[in-house]
């Protein structure tokens, strides 16, 4: 076991703490510039001076944002809190498993499968960042626009594609496995099928028009979707009027983009001679850029804007007569149009290979409705889902997604900070728990061993929490390391001892805000920051209790907000199980709790910690 030294960097929030006293209380040596075996630094890595980083190169280092964990209170309390935090970090540093010296290089090339603006933009942006790109499209040509794209914008972009983009027309992606740095893709083209390796994959199939939900039973001879409308070829009869109805979300409201398209169709019709246009809608979805002005322009051009409650439009007389209740008159309004225009929306078919439940999570798990999965990201690292397939509005939003995806994949494939899970092959039972539970699809079972995609891991630690053999963990997050840290910290902590497992995306920013404001934490509280609450499995909870903790609080993100999709729910499940086990043993089930939290809810965290401290005192 390495001897640990404390490197003291003075930081805001550490004022008044004597480094010697903290080091002595924590049972570590204070660094005075000599030889060291392993160190704890009182600052995050980003705040360390380059000279220090050079000096510590190759050593086990625990970067500890100490000020965050100390908080306010009198000198004795702050000293005790600082000592517990340093002891915890020292316990881990003493055992630190350095990342493997040899890690496979991630592949740098990018596969863009699809066509249209989103696909071209992704190819362009990835190539601009130096990645060789294969643009595979099932269509005859890569520059074929999606039906909902602006053809001019697409051909302009196609003309700018650099030579590092290889075009593979009439080529379909039929199978895909892997994660960032090591995808295996089977491509079927005119020259046959072959499997290739890619570092990242972008799925951006071209959009295809469909009518967005409107009423049934309309006379097909009268109806036309917006995409087939040639307004400039329509005019009223010489001796009268032609009546057109534009159905813009009568069964259910449209998206803002579809509504704007319907408005443009109505306006184009209204500007034709002897045409009377009615626009029927349930909600005016004017949130697209210029939508409100367009809506006004329509009405000024003589379009009758008629509101129909969803589902109240009925079709009569063989689909030629529209009727709906009017709230003011108390009776039905009727309209017998000569032309019925239906709002449309583009969608793209989901690739069939994603239906393989053994290899791919369900669609909602792959593309979570989660604010942290924006910019084209999916839950599989290195896989990006763009454009119509994602449901992104045409135009600028697709270019945004492509640019964001390219920057993300570039950093993931070329960055130095991607962790590589350590698999202890000798004790691994090949039970495939890690393969099943990794939210990012990183571990794979290849030729009777577990191998990890080289650029896919985010160190959430779900594998370490779930592996029954304790055979896999991101570097620094193995059970022995975490146990050692908790053991040293809890040995120092005052009674009643409490452990807070704090997710880096929610609880730690809240801790930081509280501590910066001088919040006084209970003397016996040991904080254990984790990348994701999903790192907290049964082993860790039970170890904390075994080491004398009277209360264990696991604080993770709200449901639907986890950067690792469901690491928070997994942690909640484990705390519930631990709590039940305690109850069955006749112990206090309340001593293990889970808290859903966001980074901007520090008060909720403070309350939960205080409550747990009070409960531990009573119990």
């Amino acid at each position: 076991m390495a001897r640990v030294s404390l490197v003291w960097l003075e930081r805001p929030g550490l004022e008044g703490l004597a480094p010697e006293l903290v080091a002595r209380a924590a049972g570590v040596a204070l660094d005075r510039g000599g030889l060291v075996e392993a160190v704890v630094v009182t600052a995050p890595e980003a705040a360390a001076p380059p000279a220090l980083k050079r000096r510590l190169l190759g050593l086990p280092v625990a970067w500890l944002d100490l000020a965050l964990e100390v908080g306010g209170g009198d000198d004795a309390l702050r000293l005790a809190r600082a000592a517990a935090a340093v002891a915890r970090a020292a316990g881990r540093a003493a055992l630190a498993t350095l990342p493997p010296v040899y890690a496979p290089q991630p592949a740098l090339n990018v596969l863009v499968a699809g066509a249209g603006l989103a696909a071209l933009a992704a190819a362009y942006e990835a190539a601009a960042l130096g990645h060789p790109v294969l643009l595979a499209t099932p269509l005859a040509a890569a520059h074929t626009p999606g039906q909902d794209d602006d053809p001019e914008e697409v051909s302009l972009l196609a003309a700018q594609l650099p030579a590092s983009v290889t075009l593979a027309p009439q080529t379909e992606l039929t199978e895909l496995t892997g994660a960032a740095g090591a995808f295996r893709a089977r491509l079927a083209g005119p020259q046959g099928a072959a499997t290739q390796t890619f570092g990242a994959v972008v799925l951006a199939p071209a959009g295809q028009w469909s009518v967005s939900c409107e009423v049934d039973g309309l006379d097909p001879a009268l109806t036309r979707p917006v995409w087939q409308l040639q307004a400039q070829e329509i005019s009223g009869p010489p001796d009268g009027w032609l009546y057109a109805a534009v159905l813009a979300g009568t069964a259910r409201p449209l998206t803002a983009d579809s509504f704007s398209r319907a408005l443009r169709a109505a306006l184009a019709l209204a500007q034709r001679p002897r045409l009377q246009v009615a626009l029927l809608f349930s909600e005016a979805r004017v949130a697209s850029e210029g939508g409100e002005r367009l809506f006004r322009e329509c009405r000024q051009a003589g379009v009758l804007a008629m509101r129909v409650a969803p589902g109240e439009l009925t079709v009569r007389e063989g689909g030629r007569l529209l009727a709906w209740p009017d709230p003011l008159l108390g009776e039905d309004l009727e309209l017998a149009p000569d032309l019925i225009v239906l709002a449309d929306q583009a969608a793209a078919p989901r690739p069939a290979f994603l239906d393989n439940r053994l290899l791919w999570p369900s669609w909602p798990a792959l593309l979570p409705d989660n604010p942290r999965f924006s910019g084209g990201r999916s839950s599989r690292t290195g896989l990006y889902i763009l454009g119509a397939l994602r449901g992104t509005a045409p135009g600028a939003a697709r270019r945004e997604e492509a640019a964001d995806a390219a920057a993300d994949l570039h950093e993931r494939l070329t960055g130095k900070l991607v962790p590589m899970p350590v698999v202890r092959d000798k004790i691994c039972a090949r039970c495939l728990t890690c393969v099943r539970t990794c939210p990012h699809g990183v571990p794979r079972h290849i030729v009777d061993s577990i191998q990890c995609a080289p650029a896919g891991c985010v160190a959430c630690g779900v594998c370490a929490a779930e592996c029954p053999a304790q055979a896999i963990a991101p570097p620094g997050w193995s059970n022995p390391e975490m146990f050692a840290g908790l053991e040293r910290a809890l040995a120092l902590a005052a009674q009643p001892r409490l452990v807070l497992f704090a997710c880096a995306n929610s609880a730690m920013p809240a801790v930081g805000e509280l501590s910066a404001g001088g919040h006084v934490w209970p003397a016996g509280l040991v904080m254990q920051p984790v990348v994701c609450a999903g790192r907290v499995g049964m082993h860790l909870i039970m170890k904390a209790l075994e080491l004398g903790a009277r209360g264990v609080l696991v604080a993770g993100c709200h449901d639907g907000n986890c950067r690792s999709v469901s690491g928070n729910l997994r942690a909640r499940l484990r705390t519930e199980q631990a709590s039940q086990t305690l109850g069955e043993l006749g112990l206090d089930p309340e001593s293990v709790q889970f808290l859903h939290l966001a980074s901007n809810q520090p008060r909720a965290l403070a309350q939960a910690v205080d409550q747990m401290a009070a409960g531990a005192l009573e119990g």
Binding site: A43, A47, E292, N370, E400, A407, D408, S599
Partner: protein
């Protein structure tokens, strides 16, 4: 963190200068560093985060997808990236086009400030910076509801703005005192309003107001909440299912109240529904859902960089998603037009890509 106390160790030039340290500016900075480019970010206020700091988390049983948590993510990301230099309390005063870019003068905004927690340090003094590209990410100005005086803001007690409600909730409002029994949201305050010359939908107000309503209702199911609106805008991928539930929980009233008057017990909302009859209803609290407008400094910035503004006073050019209208100048986030936090972050990524392409192109010019 080492705080540079003199100008000797401050950069004199940077590939990209970002004005504004809200979510868009931070996202642009992070995105540039992903692309291997360094940048200088200048924020006018002493703290980073912009408007996003004012929003509370709206999760009830699950995340409400408001995106407010993304600010902490971005601050954490910006703080670990050495390519990003951040100055707070820094104001751009002049900008001159120069060979391959801009010469921008930064000056301390207001009196010297102590360093706030998190990344960045106050601008130590005046700084003249050569930048190859500039990203304007100066955010938006929430509509001041006092300008629509008929709705009683500042005049009738019990009428507050949505931002004030956010702040109260973030501070734990009504935890120790009885909550209002009857509450009304009035939508489109400063949006879709011809009389005010604000002919745009602010995109985000339906989403934030309905999320706030749901948050209030969750803890206090007996609360009576009315939602006065013209149209309910699309506010997320699962909006239709959420709306169906919300219609059971809240009173959706399709009416734009003409007046909020001082009644015997509190504010009274005067409105007419589709049948045309005028109604008057008393509430304990009326929340005005203020819209988003062009940032206060938009005109000055446009003049500084020689930009024409798009029709509603926002920065940028019609038909161009991020080009601002001068060489090497780009816009990111809600200063380009109303955007949610998540949309601003995505938009900033495109602005960063465009700025990076500009820098690369200039470098290629040799």
């Amino acid at each position: 963190m080492e705080i540079s106390s003199s100008l000797s160790d401050t950069p004199q030039s940077t590939p990209v200068l970002i004005l504004g340290g809200g979510v868009a500016g931070l996202a642009a900075a992070v995105d540039l560093s992903r692309r291997g480019l360094s940048c200088v970010l200048a924020e006018r206020e002493p703290v980073l985060g912009g408007r996003a700091r004012d929003f509370c988390c709206k999760a009830v049983a699950a995340c409400a997808r408001c995106g407010a948590c993304r600010l902490a993510d971005l601050l954490a990301e910006a703080s670990v990236r050495p390519q990003i230099t951040i100055y707070t309390s820094a104001l751009a005063t002049t900008a001159q086009p120069r060979d391959r870019g801009w010469q921008v003068e930064l000056a301390p905004a207001g009196p010297a400030q102590p360093a706030a927690a998190g990344p960045g340090a106050p601008l130590p003094g005046r700084l003249s910076l050569a930048a190859q590209a500039v990203i304007l990410a100066v955010g938006q100005q929430p509509f001041d509801p006092a300008q629509k005086s008929s709705l009683g803001y500042g005049r009738v007690p019990g009428v507050i703005s949505a931002l004030e409600l956010e702040a109260r909730l973030a501070l734990g409002a009504w935890e120790n005192e009885p909550p209002p029994a009857k509450l009304a949201f009035i939508q489109c305050v400063g949006s879709r309003d011809q009389a005010l010359g604000r002919l745009w939908c602010s995109r985000v107000c339906c989403g934030y107001a309905l999320r706030l309503a749901r948050l209030l209702k969750a803890g206090r199911p007996e609360m009576d909440i009315a939602f006065f609106h013209m149209d309910v805008q699309d506010y997320g991928r699962a909006w239709e299912e959420e709306l169906a539930e919300l219609r059971q929980e809240l009173r959706f009233l399709r009416a734009m109240p003409g007046e909020v008057a001082l009644g015997a017990t509190g504010p009274e909302v005067v409105f007419a529904l589709a049948d045309g009859a005028q109604r008057r209803e008393a509430f304990d609290l009326v929340v005005l859902s203020q819209g988003l407008g062009p940032p206060a400094g938009a005109a000055a910035l446009a003049q500084m960089f020689g930009l024409a503004r798009i029709v509603d006073g926002f920065l940028g050019q019609p038909q161009a998603p991020v080009a601002a209208g001068a060489p090497g100048v780009y816009v990111a986030g809600a200063c380009r037009g109303p955007r949610s936090l998540a949309e601003s972050i995505d938009h900033a990524g495109l602005a960063a890509a465009a700025a990076a392409a500009h820098v690369a192109q200039e470098a290629g010019r040799g």
